[in-house]
């Protein structure tokens, strides 16, 4: 009771003076007992008068009595000094009843946004929490307070049974510890945990939940056009608050307050993605990383730069074109790794003018496993000592050309009869060039190889037994071959054969031929080719095609000839984890003049790169996701150590590989901090080897645009909430949060007393 009074009275004890309201009643009763006695002659008139207006007299007396009681009550109230609070203060404090207060402090990395003068949104949030605790402590010291971070909702930072000075000091100490995380788990993600926590407490408990956050739109507001329950930003669904809303249905005392501490017009540039265009990094081979950047600011950026580095060695700075507000930009980063082993690439976006105050997402990295070369196997269907008559001589030259620039390919050639005896797993891709027959052993071997991720390129030729290929490799559309082979077409009749008609310009194989370079593909001439019907076409004609359509992705023609039928030249399909490309002409000059053409070499290199088995090494993960690294137990010891980005300030952690489905694996789950994580592996030979994995910030979290009150209202329709934008404005000086209202009460008291006097006189005068 006193607590409740204390929430709106300076001196609640003095309010007990309100009991003096009984005074006028007692006076009334006593005055009825104290009377003078008059011996009266005209009793008849008196009795008649009494009969006439007994009811009116009673009503008048009650009115006067009520007014007197009211005046006494108001006087008592005035002495107790009542006060009002601003709406925001009232929202924060809630009712005066004892309340369990749960404060969720958003520690996602967007809260590291700088506010100037060394302050961040997160430190502002910490200050808001402390001010809230201090203020509630001064008003309602018996309330409990639990502080949790959104990234670790199951581990409260502090749980204070009451808000004594000592406990508030504990809270201050806890808040002064570095707590901001690099994760993207905002306040919205902690709602379910908070709901569980409340559910465990008794039903009758008053509970107030405060979410202290920057309330990013991506977390709270459903993107336009996305219905309830749809996919997308995940946390942005209406169901974010659903666990609390469901509780509020049964617990009427549950209150939710959103304390918005976000910056008003945040300026932020971010690297949102870095990805290699090659499947495998090879020492000495120039590779390319596509870096995607986003401008999450209100203004355009015209002085942006992209700064790359390999193993902390800076690459030439790339000056970015004009970067429009709210847009993304992709730029390639050309990289050449010096030697085999491990390396790491980082990309930073920088703008001097934009004053980006959230540096954490300006950098993104990727760990790289650099191979000595890409092992390729060429199966020669027509070996010859004469290079121009040899089926794969020109192909081999194209894949591993001599000269200053290395292709990175490590090519081995075998005759077709050696195929059965060769271990294919040592190669990233296998090329079958004019191989006459594929026996069952080879078929199974190739299928297993491609299913496990290996690449297969099949060239046609005069030795290819189409019917056998169709039977074994096409298998009704269910096999490796992307297309059913038909008759060999002879284009010699046309004076100059046929050329390439169309090709998929967006396909990785044809990336070197974008723009003007596309003309190069127009020059090679083809004199013979095998007709091919891609698997998807066959799929509609037979009972087995249903199975194809449902179990295997269909084949895709990526280049066609310019003959009348637009016969396919290159057809691809996926098979298991690997890829297969069919070339309907020969690899040598027997059916075409391609190998003499400049477009031959880049096309073959691109095909090899496209189909090659991708590296199993995962060089980057998002903060909060575990790092999994496959470990070849034949080459490395199971014990390794891990250096966190904070190394050497923090020591290296020992880590041991565990056996799993795909062999041994190193697993590290605590990726709270972004940066490069270095695994030090021990080779069986005793040497140590490093592997780098970059832990990058969640790209979505970089979008700092705030949801305003109206948008939050729309998004959180299921539950009523209070919204407080600025805690500091009133809690700096708690006195400003109490506006005394004694003077209107004084006026009211005087008015009531005057009314009482006036009425008393009027009633008397009428009488």
């Amino acid at each position: 009771m006193m607590g409740w009074l204390g929430s709106w009275l300076f001196h609640p004890a003095l309010a007990l003076g309100g009991a003096a309201v009984a005074a006028p009643i007692l006076i009334h009763i006593f005055s009825r007992r104290r009377f003078r006695v008059v011996d009266w002659a005209a009793m008849d008139f008196l009795l008649a008068a009494l009969r006439q207006n007994r009811r009116q007299v009673q009503i008048e007396q009650i009115i006067l009595l009520v007014l007197r009681c009211l005046a006494v009550l108001l006087l008592a109230l005035m002495v107790a000094r009542p006060f009002l609070r601003p709406a925001a203060a009232a929202a924060l404090l809630g009712s005066g009843a004892r309340t369990e207060r749960i404060v969720v402090l958003d520690d996602s990395f967007s809260m590291q946004y700088g506010m100037g003068a060394g302050e961040t949104v997160f430190s502002r949030g910490c200050k808001a929490v402390e001010q809230l605790a201090r203020w509630v402590g001064s008003e309602l010291p018996n309330d409990s307070l639990t502080l949790i971070r959104s990234s670790r909702p199951d581990q409260p930072v502090v749980a204070l049974p009451n808000l004594s000075e000592e406990n508030i000091a504990k809270l201050r100490d806890a808040l002064s510890q570095p707590m901001a995380s690099d994760l993207a788990r905002g306040a919205s993600t902690a709602v379910a945990s908070v709901a569980e926590m409340i559910e465990r407490s008794p039903t009758q408990t008053n509970t107030a939940v405060y979410l202290v956050s920057d309330f990013q739109k991506v977390d709270w507001v459903r993107p336009a056009g996305q219905g309830g329950g749809g996919q997308g930003s995940g946390a942005g669904q209406a169901s974010v608050i659903a666990p609390l809303a469901a509780l509020a249905e049964t617990r009427k005392s549950l209150r939710l307050t959103l304390v918005d501490v976000g910056a008003d017009r945040p300026v932020n540039l971010a690297v949102t993605d870095i990805a290699s265009s090659a499947t495998r990094a090879v020492a000495g081979v120039r590779g390319r990383y596509d870096v995607t950047m986003a401008n999450y600011s209100d203004g355009d950026v015209s002085d942006g730069e992209l700064r790359g580095s390999i193993a902390d060695q800076a690459l030439p700075t790339i000056v970015l074109p004009r970067f429009d507000a709210g847009r993304t930009l992709a730029e390639p980063l050309e990289v050449t790794f010096g030697q085999e082993g491990a390396d790491r690439v980082t990309a930073d976006v920088v703008s001097a003018a934009a004053e980006d105050r959230l540096p954490i997402d300006n950098r993104r990295g990727v760990g790289v496993e650099v191979a000595a070369g890409v092992p390729l196997l060429l199966v020669d269907g027509e070996p010859s000592s004469d290079g121009y008559r040899d089926e794969v001589y020109l192909l081999k030259t194209a894949l591993s050309p001599a000269g200053r620039v290395a292709s990175g390919n490590d090519v081995r050639v075998i005759a077709d009869d050696q195929l059965d005896a060769t271990d294919l797993t040592a190669f990233d891709a296998v090329f079958l060039a004019n191989v006459y027959r594929i026996d069952e052993v080879a078929q199974r071997k190739l299928e297993q190889y491609v299913r496990d991720g290996g690449g297969l390129v099949i060239f046609a030729g005069d030795q290819v037994d189409a019917s056998l290929y169709n039977e074994r490799l096409f298998a009704g559309g269910n096999g490796l071959l992307p297309a059913e082979l038909g008759e060999t077409a002879n284009a010699m009749e046309a004076a100059d054969g046929v050329g390439i008609g169309t090709w998929d310009e967006g396909h990785p194989i044809f990336r070197p031929f974008s723009g003007e370079a596309g003309r190069l593909l127009k020059s090679p001439r083809f004199y013979a080719y095998t007709a091919a019907r891609p698997a998807a076409t066959v799929a509609t004609s037979g009972p087995t095609t249903t199975q194809i359509a449902t179990t295997q992705p269909g084949a895709r023609v990526i280049a066609s000839l310019d003959d009348a039928e637009h016969s396919p030249l290159l057809v691809e399909r996926s098979f298991g984890a690997g890829r297969v490309v069919l070339c309907t002409t020969s690899a040598d000059l027997e059916w075409n003049g391609w190998a003499r053409d400049p477009s031959y070499l880049p096309t073959m290199l691109q095909i090899a790169q496209y189909v090659s088995r991708p590296s199993s090494f995962v060089g980057q993960v998002t903060a909060g996701s575990p790092i999994r690294m496959n470990l070849d137990a034949n080459r490395f010891a199971l014990q390794a150590s891990l250096r966190l980005p904070s190394y050497p300030a923090d020591p290296a952690y020992p880590i041991e590989a565990k056996s799993g489905d795909g062999g041994f694996q190193l697993l590290w789950e605590r990726t709270d901090r972004v940066g490069i994580y270095a695994f030090e592996l021990k080779r069986t030979s005793g040497e140590s080897a490093l592997r780098y994995v970059a832990v990058n910030p969640e790209a979505r979290e970089s979008d700092l645009r705030r949801a305003n009150r109206a948008e939050l209202g729309d998004a959180l329709k299921e539950m009523k909430f209070e919204y407080v934008r600025d805690v500091g404005a009133f809690a700096d000086e708690s006195a400003t949060a109490r506006r005394e209202i004694w003077w209107p009460i004084l006026l009211a008291t005087v008015a009531i007393l005057m009314l009482e006097q006036g009425l008393a006189r009027w009633f008397g005068a009428r009488a």
Partner: protein, 307 residues
Amino acid sequence: MSSGAPGAAGYLRPEVLSRLGGLEIRARQVVEGFVSGMHRSPYRGYSVEFAEHREYVAGDDTRHLDWRVWGRVDRLYIKQYEEETNLRTQLLVDCSKSMRYPERREPGRMSKFEYAATLAASLAFLLTHQQDAVGLLLFDDAVRAEMPALSSQAHLRALVAQLERALLERASGSDVLTRDLHSKLRRRSVVVLISDLLMDTDALLRTLDRMRHERHEVIVMHVLDEDEREFRFQQHTRFEGLESASHLTVDPQSLRRAYLEELAKFLTRIRGECLNRQVDFVELTTTQPLDVALRRYLAMREHLRKR
């Protein structure tokens, strides 16, 4: 005016009179004061038969100055005439308990009965000095004293003594006058009823009817205390009936309006009934100077003389 020695006219005021000792002295003072204030002396009648001369005193009608005597002796004499004393006046004075109000009274305040008795004695005094016969009848629920109408000084003293002896112990009775008056007033008279009229109104009206039927001229002098007329009580009061066992504890302020309405209703009725019966109705408050009543009486006497 209320302190020191008042002039003769000052004795008309009740607060002055109440300080005087006996009723007779009061009555004398009243009448002296009253007469000295009049332009004409009420003491002599003016019948046709000359009686004697008497020296002029202030207030005598100058029409009766005997200029011939003035011419002879250079002194003013008034011609006096013998008048028939056939005007009988019967004073009916209410001596019921209700006339005691106010019982607990502050100095200078008269009870209703004191006022009524002073008024009655004054009238008797005035009438006796006019040679008119005056009788007295004291009544409550019965006739408590009666004196036939005579005009001697001895009778006057006896009448005053009778008034002083009144006990005021019984309640008013209904029909007491109707029942007894016929036997008491055999000759046509002027009947002056001095009462607070707190009695059975219907019985009162029947009495008036009877008196008028017997051709008496009737003046009703209705005496009420100021409290009864104004009802200005402030604090909580327990009203205990003087003539009944009933009592009532009320906030008098809240009841004042209704009380005054009831009183006005009663007065309106009495006034109307008196008018219907050609009964003169004089409303008196115990704080009012007594000349009001005396003047009304004389006006009536004059009216009767002219008839």
